[in-house]
């Protein structure tokens, strides 16, 4: 078996497509395509764009023969596998909306995963659902209580006969896909992205972000059920006709060095990862392998999807310098599923540009006052942030205070965006849509940021989000688990994160509890610890406090921000039962 080529003769084109089907129709005239690698780093399947188009059109006719109406949601468990890709594009030709579902299961996590799938299938009102054999048992269980027209593995779908109707691919104003945000698992939201929106974002990424050129080749282990994996590393390469090599996310987590091996062997030029991925690869590098890789072709090492900490990236580039990795290849970017994917890119080939600001000014006045890194200013505490670059063409950005007033340069506030690739809304959730998207098209990102000229600096993502070892944990999911305990009332738990001495985030949940019996309190803590580990896969510091001691907002809900400050004060004063070191 041979991977699809890097060099090819089809002229680069990306600006004239208005739908994903058109983009594939064009790419199918060349020889490039997708390649799939096993956990041992062996190529096990290739899917040239020409073959993908051919097979997707056959499958589209089979899907149509099932008689569900145009625009119906087709839920696809998004394992890194050629079948997911084939079904995703079959939907494009058949006129259905594909909905990638997470393909992520943990140790003893059967129950949680099935429940999650059931919620996601139900919210998008899926009419058809597909999983590869690995995930089929979970999908079947999740679908039993729902009214889904057909649930099957790829082989069963392939047995249907083809409808003879003429294919009418999804048009520019129809949805391209429904993307669940990587947010709360308990309260998921499905982002609606039109063909016009995603095609606009793809052409901006290709032209202004990564500046695709002949000889480019991408490698990805990012999941297809996240925006960066789906839009950035599945759709964007197709929209500019380059080849991609895939490793499954699970194989990457198990053998992170595979990423470097495939990059090296295929002389790939582009790959993206959250900072966490670079850290994992560096941590698991073996001394005897360091010089064996050739990473000198790697010109775009994209970094996004979580707050960027430069130490992790420096460590990675130092360790892989003998393999020819160039730190200037780091490309910071910022975006979110609600904007299709990308909003800002740093300047290409410049590496990480940072801004060092006075920590006290930032904490007390939300002002990003630059400090010189000269020895004279050593007595100032400072924070270093990565500059994510300017917005893509067509995007406007504003930093606003809590009253909605626009803030000047270097003043922190909430980031609002308006532009051509913003979502149409959250599927079936007008309330959540109205909370973030104004009638005149401004999206409240919830992220805290400041501006330097047109350059954007993010200082805190989604003010409440907790990120632990690369996993996004939403405080409401932790709070929910606490509040379903019989001893705890709804609204009596509040979760947030703190930093330990190594600057790693730790999750904390503070719970009002009237139980005084020590044994029963310990039992509650143990039970909650177990539940949080099972559902969310993290350790959490659990702090029981007397009733009416959490700081609440005017609406009576505990304030995460104020509670966190209280916690840190009490912690500093030594008043707490739990030390982060104990549970963590």
């Amino acid at each position: 078996m041979q991977a699809t080529p890097t060099s090819h003769n089809l002229p680069l084109q990306f600006e004239n497509f208005t739908t994903l089907a058109q983009a594939l129709d064009y790419a199918a005239q060349g020889e490039t395509g997708y390649n799939f690698y096993s956990g041992r780093g062996k190529l096990y399947a290739t899917l040239p764009y020409a073959e993908l188009r051919h097979e997707a059109r056959i499958l589209a006719r089979k899907l149509i023969s099932l008689g569900v109406s145009r625009g119906s949601r087709v839920a696809l468990v998004a394992d890194t596998h050629p079948d997911f890709v084939r079904f995703f594009f079959a939907c494009q030709y058949a006129g259905f909306t594909p909905v990638p579902l997470p393909a992520k299961i943990q140790l003893s996590g059967r129950h949680e995963y099935v429940n999650q799938l059931e919620r996601l299938l139900s919210i998008c009102q899926a009419k058809l659902a597909m999983a590869t054999d690995d995930f089929m048992p979970f999908l079947i269980e999740a679908a039993t209580r729902l009214d889904i027209h057909f649930v099957g593995n790829p082989q069963t779908y392939d047995k249907f006969s083809e409808s003879r109707v003429e294919l009418k691919p999804l048009g520019a104003s129809e949805l391209a896909y429904l993307q669940y945000t990587s947010g709360s698992t308990r309260f998921p939201r499905g982002v609606m992205i039109t063909q016009a929106a995603v095609l606009n974002n793809l052409s901006s990424i290709i032209k202004h972000g990564v500046k695709i050129r002949p000889g480019d080749r991408a490698v990805s282990w990012l999941p297809y059920y996240h925006d960066m994996g789906l839009v950035g590393l599945l759709l964007a390469p197709l929209a500019c006709q380059i080849s991609v090599d895939y490793i499954s996310t699970r194989d990457f987590a198990m053998r992170p060095r595979l990423w470097l091996k495939v990059m090296s062997e295929n002389r790939a030029t582009i790959s993206f990862s959250p900072p966490f991925g670079y850290d994992l690869a560096a941590c698991r590098l073996r001394d005897d392998e360091i010089g064996n890789y050739d990473l000198s072709s790697w010109r775009v090492a994209g970094v996004g999807a979580e707050m960027i900490r430069t130490e992790m990236l420096e460590n990675f580039s130092n360790m892989l310098a003998p393999s020819g990795f160039n730190p200037q290849a780091f490309l910071p970017c910022y975006g979110m599923a609600e904007c299709s994917l990308a909003v800002c890119f740093g300047p290409l080939g410049k590496g990480m540009l940072t801004d060092q600001v006075d920590a006290d000014q930032l904490a007390e006045h939300q002002k990003a006052q630059p400090v010189k890194s000269a020895p004279a200013s050593n007595n100032h505490r400072s924070n270093t942030f990565v500059i994510c670059g300017g917005p893509l063409p067509g995007y406007e950005m504003e930093i606003r205070d809590s009253e909605g007033r626009e803030l000047p340069e270097r003043q922190c506030g909430t980031l609002y965006l308006r532009g051509p690739s913003v979502m149409s809304g959250y599927f079936g959730d007008l309330k959540a849509t109205r909370e973030v998207l104004s009638p005149d098209g401004w999206l409240n990102t919830g992220d805290i940021a400041y501006r330097i000229g047109s350059g954007l600096v993010i200082t805190g993502r989604s003010k409440d989000i907790i990120i632990i070892k690369g996993r996004n944990i939403w405080p409401q999911d932790i709070e929910y688990l606490a509040e379903i305990q019989p001893e705890i009332r709804t609204g009596d738990a509040t979760a947030f994160s703190i930093l330990n001495s190594q600057s790693d985030e730790l999750a904390v949940v503070m719970v009002e509890c009237r139980e005084t019996d020590n044994e029963k309190r310990l039992d509650l803590i143990r039970r909650l610890n177990r539940l949080i580990r099972q559902e969310l896969g993290i350790d959490c510091i659990i702090e029981l406090v007397p009733r009416n001691t959490l700081t609440r907002t005017t609406s009576g809900k505990p304030s995460r921000h104020a509670t966190r400050n209280d916690y840190l004060k009490q912690f500093a004063a030594g008043n707490l039962e739990n030390r982060p070191e104990i549970n963590a």
């Binding site: 943990q106 059967r110 690995d134 048992p137 987590a253 198990m254 580990r533 896969g537 350790d539």
Partner: protein, 83 residues
């Protein structure tokens, strides 16, 4: 074909260095997540070691059914028997 006890011993040897709790004896009844405190990344490292040690490929769909050290031993035994 390795016997169950041998497999258990080999697996315990792989688990031991990953467990952060000092002096804890790893036995079949213990829960991997709750008793041994393994997080998802540690689990991945352990799976890599297991695949390499037993020269097997561990399918992802068996993970949700594994709770204890004993469950893990039984699955690994089955996978290396089927080889």
């Amino acid at each position: 074909m390795p016997k169950n006890e041998e497999v258990l011993q080999q697996i315990v040897d792989i688990l031991k260095p990953k467990v952060s709790k000092d002096g804890l004896e790893v036995t079949a009844e213990l829960d991997l997540v709750n008793d041994l405190g393994l997080d998802s990344l540690k689990v991945m490292e352990i799976l890599e070691d297991l695949e390499d040690t037993f020269d097997i490929s561990i399918p992802i769909n068996i993970l949700p059914g594994i709770r204890t050290v004993g469950d893990l031993v039984a699955e690994i035994q089955k996978l290396s028997d089927d080889k």
